[in-house]
Amino acid sequence: MAKAATTITAARAPAQAGRDFSAKGVKLAVLAPAERISLRAPEASIAALSKALGVTLPQKAKTSATKDGRTALRLGPDEWMVIDEKGNDPLADCAGVKQLHSAVGISHRNVAISVTGPAAAACINSGCPQDLSLAAFPVGACSRTILGKSEILLLRTAEDAFRVECWRSFSDYVFTFLAQAATDAAA
């Protein structure tokens, strides 16, 4: 038997850390790093995974579920992203689940930007073609979609608040796009 592996911890260098922007009616802020996993699983595994994660994986299109700082976003019929903002690792929680699933740690892949204020939806809509009215995209709704030329993951956290997740290498573009959109939305 080999010796127990030593844990190697790498220093984080979060992209766009601390960046923020304010315009009339819209505030942008780059959010703190979070733990994230990409989860794929068939229907038969959902109950066991939900129990292990402590949050029920939603099965309806465009919905999410949040409990104790952990949010499960339903992206497709068998695909979720789980975001943990309290430093607990959802990957470790899935490791003990025997039912068929694939959990991949993607914490560092994404950067999250909060878009808040009465003009938040207008700001995002300047580059995202989805209907963001409260009827079509209520609080808790989430979807993979696009903003300008970048793919994003959009979650409505309150009536006038969104979490925009994008890939790290697109984060400068997405933030700059949103800042310009916020200026336009205020005008």
Partner: protein, 129 residues
């Protein structure tokens, strides 16, 4: 912008979230190595490219990421219907009864047809090739 109904998301979503993935219902041979060159060419390269109704694969790439099938009119760009991958090819006669597409309904203008010659021919006529 077109709105395309994703059968997995069960709602109409903006076309920018989708990507076309070629003609649908082209079955790959279960024994591809035994295919004759002619049959392989047909399977691999030859597409129907109709003027009017076409059955296509589409992918909701910037959404649920699923492949699905769509019935589309290549003249008007109208999406007649969409359905999940693996579901049988819909009966064209039945679709037409409920939703007659523009290309079939409209009279084809013969004058318009005359202008639609291959690019090479047009260039030769103009003499500026």
């Amino acid at each position: 912008m077109l709105l395309i109904r994703c059968p997995y998301c069960e709602e109409e979503r903006p076309e920018l979230e989708f990507r076309n993935a070629g003609e649908a219902h082209i079955a790959r041979s279960t024994n591809i190595a035994a295919e004759s060159d002619e049959d392989f060419e047909k399977f691999f390269f030859i597409r129907s490219n109709p003027k009017g109704i076409i059955f296509e694969r589409w992918r909701h790439i910037h959404g649920c990421a699923r492949f699905f099938n769509a019935v589309r009119d290549t003249v008007s760009d109208k999406f007649v219907m969409t359905y999940k991958a693996g579901e049988p090819k819909p009966d064209l006669a039945k679709i037409m009864k409920t939703d007659k597409p523009a290309a079939v309904a409209a009279e084809v203008d013969p004058q318009e047809d005359k202008t639609k010659k291959p690019a090479a021919k047009r260039a030769a006529q103009k003499g500026d090739a």
